[in-house]
């Protein structure tokens, strides 16, 4: 790794640190106000401003990472899973800085910056090496297309943050009984915690160099080998553990399943579940959203709703431009056709249709407030699905990671 690339990754660490600081400041800004209220002090605390400043500095360092890596590799750093996912998180933070410049909502910071950190951490699970570009990616359209898409998705992600704030603020979370709504909001919390669990697990076991070798029988009925980087709960088909002192599988997967991936999924969802319940029990068995709700006092739902809508109103045209128009121009030049029903293309179209439906429901059917907030959450889920699932599981021209 040359020195510029090293500088680049250090800048990303620094950015991450500032995002962390911003999170702390935002926590103080929302919790701090309450304390003062009890003392009868009406003066607002300044922590929110510090949170905003820390985020801005984080964004500056993050773009420092982006451009130094561009210089180090000689191509825009948006060409594999690590690079794109990290850049999406950076655009998310940039969009937050711009939109929150208008609305100045500290709770929005509290809800979005941790998600941004989570996405960066998730990105770093993938290989961070600068890889040479395959021929079709060597085009100025790569930068134009991907950067526009990332910006658009970053802006749309802000609408998710605001939607989440809206839901936690307005839903009735006090009842003991589970309803569709309380299940939905807790499912979002659980999903975020699963992401966190995945990131922590992969990093911990990578730091300890955990490796377990298996011999197994593959789909073709031949003997083969594979390596697990997490302790095997689910072993490969007829797997035999070859490394000593390693955890022995409890279940064995059939041959047509990629068992190490399933194992990782089981680990993540399992630890996410554990994490969720630990937090819940610490909070005296209240729902996580119910624990957060008191922090959102004084937030006017209409304002958060407007913010969420505004993010979509800005992000949607940009997504149509980058994710469809620029994508078609680029595909026409690089892949000889502007549209080819590649899974990633289809999912970009689905994203487009989804937000189009959102806008029509909102503008013509009066779906504002809660319904609009749920849709903003689902929209972000589609974006993440297209990033993670379509790239890694459904094979296609875009799966380059």
């Amino acid at each position: 790794m040359n020195s510029l690339a090293e500088l680049s990754s250090n800048l990303l660490y620094i950015a991450f640190f500032f995002y962390f600081a911003a999170t702390v400041f935002y926590i103080l800004s929302v919790t701090g106000r309450q304390f003062r209220n009890k003392e009868g002090d009406v003066k607002k605390n300044r922590w929110g401003t510090w949170g905003y400043i820390a985020t801005v500095i984080g964004v500056v360092f993050a773009f420092g990472y982006f451009f130094t890596r561009w210089a180090a590799g000689g191509h825009p750093p948006v060409s594999n899973m690590f690079e794109y996912t990290a850049f999406l998180a950076i655009c998310f933070s940039l969009a937050f800085v711009v939109i929150n410049g208008i609305y100045k909502s500290n709770v929005l910071g509290l809800f979005t910056i941790p998600v941004i950190m989570l996405i960066i951490a998730y990105a770093s699970v993938f290989s961070t090496e600068i890889a040479p570009l395959v021929p079709s990616l060597q085009s100025n359209w790569l930068a134009i297309h991907v950067i526009t898409v990332a910006l658009a998705q970053g802006i749309l992600a802000v609408s998710f943050g605001a939607g989440l704030v809206y839901l936690v603020r307005t839903l009735d979370l006090s009842g003991k009984k589970m309803t569709k709504r309380t299940f939905g909001i807790e499912f979002i919390m659980y999903t975020l915690l699963t992401g966190l669990a995945f990131v922590i697990l992969t990093n911990v076991f990578e730091a300890t160099n955990y490796e377990a070798q298996f011999t197994y029988v593959n789909e073709q009925g031949e003997d083969a080998e594979k390596t697990y980087n997490l302790p095997a709960i689910i072993g490969p088909n007829e797997g035999v553990l070859e490394t000593e002192d390693r955890f022995s599988p409890i279940f064995y997967a059939p041959d047509w399943i990629i068992s190490e991936d399933l194992n990782t999924v089981v680990w993540s969802f399992g630890s996410g579940f554990l994490l969720y319940w630990v937090i819940r029990l610490i909070g005296r068995n209240r729902r996580i959203s119910a624990m957060l709700q008191p922090l959102l006092k004084g937030v006017k739902p209409q304002t958060v709703d407007e913010l969420s809508y505004r993010a979509i109103a800005i992000g949607f045209p940009l997504f149509a431009l980058g994710g469809l128009a620029f994508a078609m121009i680029y595909a026409q030049i690089a892949w000889t056709r502007f549209w080819g029903w590649d899974p990633k293309e289809v999912w970009a179209l689905i994203t487009f249709f989804f937000y189009a439906a959102y806008l029509h429901l909102r503008l013509s059917r009066n779906w504002i407030g809660e319904r609009s907030a749920w849709l903003a959450v689902i929209g972000f889920a589609i974006i993440m699905f297209n990033l993670i699932f379509v790239n890694l599981v459904i094979a296609g021209l875009h799966s380059y990671a």
């Binding site: 600068i130 800005i314 059917r365």
Partner: protein, 554 residues
Amino acid sequence: MKEKEIICECGHVNPYGTEVCGSCGKPLVKNDSNELLNMRYEGAARRSQTYNKSIIDKVWNFFSSVKVGITIIVVILIASALGTIFPQELFIPPGQDAATYYAEEHGWAGELYYTLGFHNLYGSWWYMLLITALGISILIASIDRFFPLYKALKNQRVTRHEKFMSRQRIFGRSTVSDQDETMNKAVSLLRKKRYKIFEENGNVLAEKARWARWGPYVNHIGLIIFLVGAMLRFFPGMYVDANMWVREGETVPVPGTSQDYYLENLQFDVELYDEDDERFQGAMQAAPGAEHIETFRTHSILYMPTDESTVGAGRELEAISEQEIEVNSPLYFDNYSVYQLDYKLNELSAMSFDVEDRETGESAGSFTVDLNNPEDYYTLDNGEEVYIYDYFANFIINDAGEPTTENNVPDNPAFIFEMTNEDGEEELTFIRIQRNFEIRDDEDDPHQYAFTFAGIDTNHVTGLKVRKDLTLPFLIAGGSIFLLGLLQGSYWPHRRVWLQRENDGEILIAAHTNKNWESIKKEIRSVTDQTELSEPVDQTDEEYEKEYKEKDNL
């Protein structure tokens, strides 16, 4: 039957179905309520909301419904997602039969997928039908809304009914010492904020970016042009999509051009990334032995036949241009594009053979066969001739057990050579790579002439894609109009502020915007801060306080 028109107290004649008077804004339905006014389409009458008699009315109403439009969008969305569960037919490995592939690869689910026709979902008649329905819905819904909205905004009067004012989301009542002065000050402040000012009887309407309201209709026009453009592809002559493989040194007609153009592959190159490139060390060491292709390109010459030459072999060609065709850098000519898509390195191009005369023990000579263009016979040094009795470019034994060729690509060439020996007998020899046997009448009687395989020559083949797409201009026009309309409708808010004098020295202020209320409130605040006007309230604040004040204090 002509429906009854609605005459408002201000004297304006509104068409049947109007909810808010097009002139003064008096609410015509539920006019004793104090709820906020529904300002969608300005409360104008729309055809679809008014008539429901004839078949045409019913079809019109069906497609003009946004609910129906959204349903179509959602159905397309779900259908599109279904198409990505398993790969579409065009992505399954070439040569595989879809009928068996899905069942073998994905079990019963795959079989179901195939049976339902989802393997070719995006080309299915019902997917096309859905897209068509969406197009019709867009068209009718836009017409149904645009004209009433346009008229309503054009006819709006400055002076509004008091109910109209008080039922706006932003509304305030101010007592001022001097109505004239306050009004003038407010107007000049609004003007500075780029509002267009309309005055009537001392009342004011300040408006900006009304044109943003046309955005949705502009983008829908763009979409319709795009969809029509996409449909044009099904007309013959609009669209060409052909593959061509050209060996180095070969000149072939460009498929799809009715032999109007020929292309020669002078040279084909593949370039790899430098393994010592400092930038990529980490990635290259992670995948040792992997090839990192930097680029591949065809050095080509494009020809046109001269006018005199007739169609057929041996036409006289005239070079038009010489160009490198590379990934991301196609060759463009006369509505055609030729793309670098694929390649095949080191395809066999020629084979050489030595022939020995077993009688004398000396060499009878050598010959070389051009595998893509073999001669009928070759003359050896000793004057004898070798005939090609049979040639299989890509040798296989077929189901009937007979030797044959799979295609004419020389991947596995095989020959049967024929020579006549001194006794006048014909000798047949079968040769392919690592196989060589003489077809003898008597096992123990070897031929006079013995063939041995002497060497091969190889050649690179470039894989090119030829395209012509005359629908592109429509798609570009439609796409651009769509994006501009989207921009127009999304990035500019239509804002209106009404200032109205009351007899008792009061001034009423009301405001409406189609989006971004926080921003219009900020603008009005800066006006009220600098005048005697008091800041109007956001009436949703009252709702909010009613609902949350108690809860928050718990």
